[in-house]
């Protein structure tokens, strides 16, 4: 397994996942099927999470294939496209999570949310298709009709739609410079990252320890009202984390602990899915003061707490253990 391999494996998820999610979402409008809509939202949220390691592994893949025979211009074009589609994907995922959060209280998603997810998912699916297309162009000159199929060009000719989208695509260098221009801005981002982690540990931690059986005087239903703060903290950390990575990819791309941190985050996504998408959540949603949670819920709560502390631990060790990987491994 190397970065190129990982990138080629993962990139299927955001490209195909958005198409599947969008299809289910659009079908949900026929017959007003709320279950199908909910399913499509879950897919958007899951794909938003998977898009992160897909994007990160792209930097490693780039390091591996850089050199003669590979057009830098085509790689840049793909990277710019990926940068734009990533932010739209994360926005779509965030909107989907907000919609999912509302559903237990009412049978329908709020209308503003459905409209927002419609717009963002359409745009994201289109942008992901372009990202896939531009990625394929790097290594597959045979699919470029009507042009000389040379793979060492320094300029790229865009089609009509391509040129329109291209005006919105940020240049990776400019984006990177915007993040690293000042150590005070960088430190501000890190302050936000720490505040985000505190918001997560405080709120999710409290819910987890209650489910595990401590502080039983607390009923669980109101504890869930704190979770939007945890999601807010997660959102802040995903944004500041991605910005930090784009700013200084070499700080992270060679770090084994960084990938362990990413893996822990994915496992937390799986944990959340196990909790919320099965009847385990229903079993602990309205525990009264003094009531004990079932063992399945306790295990999920314990693994949640463990994994969040794993995320903090791996994050802390990125700095000293920054060079444990080599490209091409």
């Amino acid at each position: 397994m190397n970065y190129a391999h990982l990138h080629l494996l993962l990139n299927h998820f955001p490209i195909i996942g958005t198409i599947v999610g969008l299809a289910l979402f659009l079908i949900s409008f026929l017959g007003k099927n709320e279950d199908l809509r909910r399913g499509s939202y879950i897919i958007f949220a899951a794909i938003a999470l998977l898009a992160i390691p897909t994007f990160l592994s792209g930097y490693g893949a780039q390091l591996m294939i850089k050199g003669p025979g590979i057009s830098d211009a085509l790689v840049q074009r793909h990277q710019s496209s990926a940068l734009l589609s990533l932010w739209f994907m994360e926005a779509t995922g965030a909107l989907a999570l907000i919609g999912l959060w509302q559903t237990p209280k009412s049978p329908h998603m709020p209308r503003w949310n459905v409209a927002a997810v419609l717009i963002f998912s359409l745009l994201t699916t289109g942008l992901m298709a372009r990202t896939g297309n531009t990625g394929g162009d790097i290594r597959h000159p045979e699919d470029q009709t009507g042009q000389a199929a040379t793979s060492t060009r320094d300029t790229v000719t865009e089609g009509t739609i391509g040129s329109i989208i291209h005006t919105f695509e940020p240049s990776p260098e400019k984006f990177s410079e915007a993040v690293t221009f000042s150590k005070w801005w960088w430190t501000f981002m890190m302050i936000l990252h720490f505040l985000g982690l505190i918001m997560i540990v405080g709120t999710v931690g409290l819910l987890d320890i209650r489910i595990m059986g401590f502080l039983k005087q607390l009923p669980t239903a109101p504890l869930h009202r704190f979770l939007p703060w945890a999601m807010g903290g997660l959102g802040i950390n995903i944004v500041t984390g991605l910005l930090a990575f784009i700013g200084l990819p070499e700080n992270y791309i060679y770090s084994g602990v960084f990938w362990l941190k990413m893996l822990s985050l994915l496992l937390l996504g799986v944990n959340a899915a196990l909790f919320y998408l099965t009847d385990i959540f229903a079993g602990v949603e309205r525990l009264e003061a003094g009531e004990d949670a079932p063992m399945s819920a306790k295990l999920i709560a314990a693994s949640s707490l463990f994994l969040w502390f794993a995320v903090i631990t791996f994050g802390r060790y990125i700095q000293p253990l920054g060079d444990t990987l080599r490209p091409g491994n």
Binding site: T187, I191, L215, L218, L223
Partner: protein, 172 residues
């Protein structure tokens, strides 16, 4: 004002040297990790109490949250202990940095508020929950401000230090 020689003396000790130079995973970054964990415990628990008093999750009974103060004190104790080790490793870097004293001030103010809230709001059994909230509102708001100040000042330490070790400027 000259840098006190005692900082150099501390840096020459075996403990200080080991903390800085050891390649073991149990060295400096291990201490720093537990400093981060302690921070998430004390500020996380404090934030939950403060947010509840300020109106979030208003269906949550307030009185049982008194137990969270125990977590706060554990987190604080962990950070005092790890903090002393961190100071032992880099006394000059921290103690010649005005930002470090700003951080300690914020922590002092936050802990003072924490203690005041613990006594005046949670230990006064004559108060019902509405009265508790009324009494605790201002303290809760300031508590959040002070802790955010402490975390920010702490995060800024690495960017504001003048010296890394006695006689060695940061970056040299």
């Amino acid at each position: 004002m000259a840098v006190p020689l005692i900082f150099n003396t501390i840096e020459q000790t075996a403990l200080s040297t080991w903390l800085r130079e050891s390649t073991s995973v149990f060295g400096f970054y291990f201490i720093l990790l537990f400093h981060t964990i302690g921070m998430s415990l004390v500020v996380g628990a404090s934030a939950v109490v403060d947010l509840r008093i300020l109106g979030v999750a208003s269906a949550l009974p307030l009185k049982p949250l008194k137990r969270l103060f125990a977590i706060m004190w554990v987190g604080l104790a962990l950070n005092v202990a790890t903090g002393i080790f961190l100071l032992t490793a880099y006394p000059t870097k921290a103690l010649t940095n005005p930002d470090f004293y700003i951080k300690l001030s914020f922590i002092g103010l936050a802990v003072f508020t924490m203690r005041k809230m613990s006594i005046q709001v949670f230990e006064d059994t004559s108060l019902d929950e509405m009265a508790m909230i009324a009494r605790g509102k201002t303290m809760a708001a300031w508590s959040l401000v002070f802790w955010i100040g402490a975390v920010s000042a702490g995060r800024l330490l690495s960017e504001t230090s003048k010296y890394v070790l006695y006689g060695h400027l940061w970056g040299s």
